[in-house]
């Protein structure tokens, strides 16, 4: 297996997912298969091929530093499940 159970636990934690023992088993197999499949690319000879930083052949896409009106606050907060005092309200973050 190219992906260990520990790896999956770690990824689940980063993704804020709680997995059951069964799911853990299943994803360890599934993710291993995916990684193995992607690893086949390592067999390709890439000698002389430059590393790709961007898939499109574009560069230097810039904008002028000129202020334009922002959105109305009501618009911006429309999608927030909870709001208060002109802000998005979220459960307390412990510092």
């Amino acid at each position: 297996m190219s992906v260990s159970k520990e790896d999956v636990k770690h990824i689940a934690k980063l993704s804020k997912l709680n997995l059951t023992e069964e799911e853990l088993e299943k994803y360890t197999t599934d993710l291993s298969n995916i990684v193995d499949f992607a690893n086949e690319l390592s067999n390709i000879n890439v000698e002389g091929v430059k590393p790709t930083a961007h898939i499109l052949d574009i560069r230097n896409v810039f904008r002028k530093d000129e202020v334009q009106p922002s959105y109305d606050r009501e618009e911006i907060l429309k999608n927030a499940p909870s709001k208060d005092a002109g802000c998005v309200s979220v459960p307390k973050v412990v510092e």
Partner: protein, 477 residues
């Protein structure tokens, strides 16, 4: 107890003084109502396309050139993933393996000792939003105005060995950024802040100790105190046979205590990957040279020039050039009165003290360059004594009135008429036979007493050189 060596590296975040955010046209101005400088791009709505602000590249290149970095001809942006409510996209657009600037250094000065501090890299990235704790509901409120305000992160090599060196490094960097006008460096508003990476090791040990990172320090005092605290803490732990954990820490400046935020167990895993929505940045030699040629005179160069051109002591030159505003004031005032040392003395002396007391900067003061130059000219011409000048300056500082007008209005013109002064000197000598006798018996202090009496009589306006001359003439007759 063993002797320990302290190893410090700083990560400095500077908010760039652009008009707009890094990837959208929302304003960056400070202090607006919450969430009024926001749009779908900076609040991370799906399907939006960020476009890089050209000034961000220019400002970062300026900072790189001024700190002797190599500017990358090819650079790209990456996503740094982390999950926190101050970051609506759940990733920060930053630069990972190909930053804009690499491998520079700046020279710092600690108690007269010069030292070079290496700069590992400077990269561009976006700031996060502000979290406000709501005491009433117990919830956390998110203000996204600061989301995507452009930042440069300046990473130093672990070349710093003490709190004093860290402060000197930070001050030098601040002065450079101010001269470049790429950051307003208002630490109280968070536009300049730093993270301190610190470890200790017994003297002689080759390997570095385990380091901790104290985040988000936004005053010189907090930087200094957090470093002192962390050095002491790490040494104590090691001396007691304990182990230092690699952790992120916070410093409460009001209490003077640091504490751990995240420990090793849930160490961050940022999973950087190339930002597919932003194009690579490819800079030509021409672009870089144009910026290089547009750089203003940097503080350390200006300092050398002040020493050579104006014959100022190194100490004066250092203080005058530390802030661009002070240097500008000095140059403008000196251009009018042509007395560099006098201008320097005023700026570093009474003027500085009054500015400090009032907690304002030199360009916010009522005293203009012209007005200080005028005051100095009045002293140089002998119109007023330097003692009276102090009094005039206080008035200038309070009211912004012109030095000449104050002198005329208050009748402070120095008495230089020998005949008139002689009369008063004679009167004082006649009235103080004991002092004359004391002086003749070898007590030089008696002269001082009589000079004091004469100055009192003339309300401080008598020209002191003439007073001294006449007094000695009369007594020794």
């Amino acid at each position: 107890m063993k002797e320990y060596e302290v190893i410090i590296g700083l990560e400095v975040h500077a908010e760039l003084s652009t008009n707009t955010k890094i990837y959208c046209n929302c304003s960056t101005s400070f202090g607006a109502d919450p969430n009024t400088h926001c749009c779908p791009i900076c609040t991370g709505m799906p399907g939006t396309l960020p476009v890089l602000n050209e000034k961000v590249v220019e400002y970062a290149v300026k900072a790189g050139l001024a700190t002797n970095c190599e500017i990358s001809r090819f650079s790209k942006q990456d996503r740094k993933n982390y999950f926190y409510p101050d970051l609506p996209k759940a990733f920060q657009t930053s630069q990972y393996d190909l930053p804009l600037c690499l491998g520079g250094h700046i020279d710092i000065n600690v108690d007269g000792n010069k030292k070079s501090i290496g700069i590992t890299r400077i990269h561009i990235e976006e700031d996060a939003g502000k979290l406000i704790h709501d005491a009433y509901t117990g919830d956390t409120l998110v203000d996204m105005n600061r989301c995507a305000v452009p930042l440069i992160e300046i990473v130093s090599e672990p070349d710093i060995r003490s709190a004093d060196e860290a402060i000197a490094y930070m001050q030098t960097l601040k002065s450079i950024l101010e001269y470049l006008e790429v950051c307003d460096c208002k630490m109280q508003e968070g536009s300049l802040r730093c993270d301190v990476n610190l470890s200790v090791r017994p003297v002689g040990q080759k390997e570095f100790g385990t380091r901790t990172e104290t985040k988000n320090l936004n005053s010189f005092k907090a930087i200094h105190n957090s470093i002192e605290f962390e050095i002491k803490r790490q040494i104590e732990v090691l001396e007691n046979g304990g182990k230092i954990y690699q952790e992120t820490r916070r410093f409460d400046d009001a209490k003077g205590v640091g504490y751990a935020m995240r420990t090793k167990e849930d160490a961050q895993d940022y999973r950087y990957f190339p930002e597919p929505d932003l194009a690579p940045i490819i800079l030509s030699d021409e672009y870089i040279n144009d910026i290089k040629n547009s750089l203003p005179e940097m503080p350390h160069i200006k300092k050398e020039r002040y020493i050579k051109e104006f014959g100022l002591p190194e100490y004066d030159a250092e203080i005058l050039t530390a802030s661009k505003k002070t240097a500008y004031f000095f140059e403008k005032a000196n251009a009018i009165c042509n007395n560099p040392k006098a201008v320097s003395n005023w700026i570093m002396g009474d003027f500085a003290r009054m500015l400090n007391e009032k907690e304002i900067e030199i360009d916010e003061s009522e005293v203009t360059e012209e007005n200080l130059a005028c005051l100095i000219t009045l002293i140089d011409k002998g119109t007023i004594s330097s003692k009276i000048a102090k009094q005039v300056f206080e008035d200038m500082f309070e009211t912004g009135e012109n030095a000449k007008e104050i002198v005329e209005k208050k009748g402070l013109v120095q008495m230089s008429d020998e005949g008139a002064i002689k009369e008063i000197v004679q009167r004082i000598v006649d009235a103080n036979p004991q002092s004359v006798a004391d002086y003749k018996a070898g007590k030089d202090r008696a002269i001082g007493f009589m000079v004091g009496q004469i100055m009192k009589e003339t309300k401080g306006k008598a020209n002191p050189q003439i007073v001294n001359k006449l007094l000695l003439e009369i007594i020794n007759k």
